[in-house]
């Protein structure tokens, strides 16, 4: 014991601690970052799913920052697939930057995928703010798209889904934590954007509406835009209106939607939806003088009323509720059977849509 003094022992203990870095210690260059996860239905295989992980390959130089590797594996469950993919790569698979999850159309159309949906939320290392989307024609195809000018793999998807880049009313994006919440919560249903893989770009302008287990309905781009208006998430958009033989396009600055569920006693329940739109005239096939703007406003209101109601009825017919009318109803009614009540009310409810359009100016100096 007299070999080292008090300090000598301290130093030796300290040095040996430095050698013992536990399993938590893994340098960033020994990790392989997954940037997006794709799930397909496995073809020509006894297994159920084909899980693909898109890895970002870091390079020491700035010349080709967009290098990536896609590793796929068919398995019956996510965890199984990931375990086997781990054996195919040399570094530790790290999900902490997996920000995009794409599920192929075939997967979401089927029932019984809850295992997959919840797997993403159960994993502690997948961030709750990962974007979730439906892939067309397949998830692998979406992962394989290599858009030009991407600064890192999957950045294009991140930018368009996160609206950090392009802001458009045709994209309705969904976080994984939000999707999980909507899969469980009574009164609101998940909406996922549909990503269509083209040759070297994506097309995201439609959405798929879910019930509690699978995708039931897809909306076309115009309906998607209206749904976005109703959710009050995106204000920059354009509305096309035809009046007589003049067609105008309004560039909206501000779209606000308010709705209220009325259940008058003895009468049929209805939902009053108020949409207010502010914008400027962007395009017109003929000259539109300033004093005639109000007539165009009226025309726009009329056509918007019709369109909004059409979308709402279409969603109602499919017995889906992506806007959360049911949640609103439940939050305002405190009886024990509010959910049963709502399930009775919703299929028969009518929508009274009232839009108010304000066109600020024609965009031109007269």
């Amino acid at each position: 014991m007299k070999l080292f003094g008090k300090w000598g022992w301290m130093v030796i203990i300290l040095l040996s601690i430095f050698l013992l870095n536990g399993c938590g210690f893994k340098d960033i260059d020994k990790r392989f970052f997954v940037v997006s996860i794709g799930v397909d239905i496995a073809k020509n295989s006894p297994k159920k799913y084909l899980v693909s992980l898109k890895f970002a390959v870091p390079s020491p130089s700035k010349d080709n920052p967009n290098e990536f590797a896609i590793v796929s594996e068919s398995a019956d469950s996510m965890s199984e697939a990931v375990r086997i993919i781990k054996t195919k790569v040399d570094k530790e698979v790290d999900f902490s930057h997996a920000k995009v999850i794409v599920l192929s159309e075939d997967v979401v159309k089927e029932k019984g995928n809850a295992g997959i949906y919840y797997w993403f939320s159960r994993r502690r290392d997948i961030q709750g703010i990962a974007w979730t989307a439906i892939a067309k024609p397949s998830a692998l195809a979406v992962l394989k798209v290599n858009p030009k000018g991407e600064s890192m793999p999957s950045n294009a998807l991140l930018l368009s889904l996160g609206k950090e880049g392009s802001e458009t009313p045709y994209v309705i994006s969904e976080f994984i934590f939000d999707m999980k919440y909507k899969l469980i919560e009574r009164g609101i249903d998940p909406i996922l954007p549909i990503i269509e893989a083209k040759k070297d770009h994506f097309e995201i302008n439609t959405v798929g509406l879910f019930n509690k287990s699978r995708m039931m309905l897809t909306l076309n781009p115009e309906e998607t835009k209206i749904l976005n208006f109703l959710r009050g998430r995106e204000e920059k958009s354009a509305s096309k209106v035809t009046k007589g033989n003049t067609t105008i396009v309004i560039d909206t600055h501000k779209v606000k939607t308010k709705y209220k569920i009325h259940t008058p006693r003895g009468k049929a329940p209805f939902i009053k939806v108020n949409v207010s739109v502010e914008g400027t005239l962007e395009e017109a096939t003929r000259r539109v003088p300033n004093e005639n703007l109000s007539t165009y406003e009226k025309a726009t209101e009329k056509s918007l009323n019709r369109e909004v109601e059409k979308v709402l009825v279409k969603i109602q017919k499919a017995n889906l509720d992506p806007i959360g009318f049911g949640l609103r109803y439940r939050s305002r009614h405190f009886n024990n059977d509010d959910w049963e009540q709502w399930k009775r009310i919703y299929p028969a409810i009518t929508f009274k849509v009232k839009t108010k359009v304000q066109i600020a100016d024609t965009g031109l100096i007269e």
């Binding site: 870095n21 210690f25 340098d27 960033i28 990790r31 970052f33 940037v35 870091p58 020491p60």
Partner: protein, 444 residues
């Protein structure tokens, strides 16, 4: 005093002072009287002896008149004890034996009394001169900046061998009397051989003589001393040192520069925030880098994570060795640039900083990001205005780094909290170290 008594004291003094080249024992005679003087000429001012002692001695012929002159001269103190006289002689006082009495004649030479420029705590504007190395000059400087009759100056000596003169200065109207007594007790309890400068107190204050965080402010600026006196602080001046010690000192004082009162309000606030940010950066950044790159890379944005992963590709060692290597290099540079002669100082910095950093990255020893982190740690370390505290900070960051290496982000947070807890425990003569309120002037 009887003649034989004087004679015996004279003999005993002569015995106790070992014969040396510069010890002078001389008799001066006129017709009517004679005087004997004992002094050490290297530390005594011989012009004073010439002007104030010898000239009158030869001009005043009457022995009684000269005795009156000696007794009324402000330079002369009467004999108290043999030990006291010995202590005075070795500081430059001359001992006079005249008739049947013994006098101490203050002939101390006042060397190094030129006022120095500030070199440590430089400011852009405001006074530019610091203290000198002479105690009376320094006291004069303070008195000039702080013309208050309530200024209380007490003198004592510290050091069993060095017997250094130390002055305790405070404004009796503003300083807390309890603190003053506490400081006096502290000075009286000091047991060191050589006491050269106030900085030594930083360590002595701890019972173990091992302190990490300074709880006294050592300054070279008379204006800072004057401002602190007005704030009720107590100043310790040490003979032979151009630094004054300000007591009690809390962290807020370490983070303030004299420039704070020479600038406009918002500029001052901005600079203060900047310093605290610099403090945090310097303390946490190395630990954070290790914790985040090796334990929690999800904290980065994905773009940054990939670029760090890319730049670390060629680095063969784990991140903490990389950090240690680079920090070690930086400490060497800092230390070397203090030691180097002024003329080649900048060369060393350039060679070290630029070339070493560049070469280390290219050789794949460290990543690019690491160079950025090291340099920002080094730079923000020097944002702290008081040197003693910035040195402390240099050490503290290794503690955070070690915990970050072992326990990841949690380690960094816990390490930071442990340092905060340590500083909360500290106090400077009764003043809590992390207090934000300056000690209030007492209402007497």
């Amino acid at each position: 005093m009887a003649i034989n008594q004087v004679q015996s004291i004279k003999d005993s003094l002569k015995n106790k002072i070992r014969p040396a080249e510069d010890v002078v024992f001389k008799e001066f005679h006129t017709k009517e009287k004679y005087i004997e003087a004992l002094y050490i000429k290297t530390i005594s001012d011989e012009t004073i002896i010439q002007d104030k002692l010898l000239k009158p001695f030869f001009e005043i012929s009457s022995p009684d008149l000269f005795l009156d002159y000696l007794q009324s001269s402000p330079l002369v103190i009467s004999f108290e004890s043999e030990q006291k006289s010995l202590d005075e002689v070795i500081k430059g006082t001359a001992i006079l034996f005249y008739q049947n009495s013994i006098f101490l004649f203050d002939s101390k030479v006042d060397r190094n009394n030129s006022v120095l420029d500030t070199t440590v705590e430089t400011t852009i504007q405001g006074p530019q001169s610091g203290f000198s190395e002479s105690l009376p000059t320094n006291l004069g400087l303070i008195r000039k900046r702080y013309p208050q009759t309530s200024l209380n100056v007490e003198s004592t000596t510290v050091g069993t061998v060095s017997k250094t003169d130390v002055m305790i200065i405070h404004d009796a109207m503003r300083a807390d009397p309890d603190t003053v007594t506490r400081i006096k007790q502290f000075l009286a309890s000091i047991d060191v051989h050589m006491f050269q400068t106030g900085e030594q107190l930083l360590d002595i204050i701890k019972k173990s003589n091992r302190a990490l965080v300074p709880v006294m402010l050592v300054t070279e600026r008379p204006d800072r001393v004057a401002v602190n006196l007005a704030a009720g602080k107590i100043i310790i001046l040490v003979s032979g040192s151009p630094f004054a010690v300000v007591l009690p000192t809390v962290m807020k004082d370490f983070m303030s520069s004299m420039e704070d009162i020479y600038q406009t309000y918002w500029v001052t606030k901005f600079l203060q925030i900047l310093r605290y940010i610099g403090f945090l950066t310097s303390l946490v950044l190395p630990g954070l880098y290790v914790a985040v790159t090796s334990y929690n890379p999800e904290l980065f944005r994905v773009q940054l994570a990939l670029s760090i992963a890319g730049s670390r590709m060629s680095v063969p060692y784990p991140s903490f060795i990389e950090v240690l290597l680079m920090l070690f290099m930086m400490e060497m540079l800092t230390e070397a640039s203090i030691r180097l002669p002024k003329a080649i100082g900048p060369t060393a910095t350039t060679v070290g900083g630029l070339i070493l950093g560049q070469a280390a990255t290219e050789a794949g020893l460290v990543s690019n990001i690491m160079i950025i982190i090291t340099s920002s740690v080094a730079i923000s370390n020097f944002v702290i205005p008081i040197n003693a505290f910035s040195f402390t900070l240099r050490i503290m960051k290794y503690f955070v780094l070690a915990l970050g290496t072992l326990f990841g982000l949690v380690g960094v947070v816990v390490g930071f909290f442990m340092l905060i807890a340590y500083m909360v425990k500290l106090d400077s003569f009764g003043e809590p170290f992390l207090t934000l309120i300056q000690s209030k002037p007492s209402k007497e």
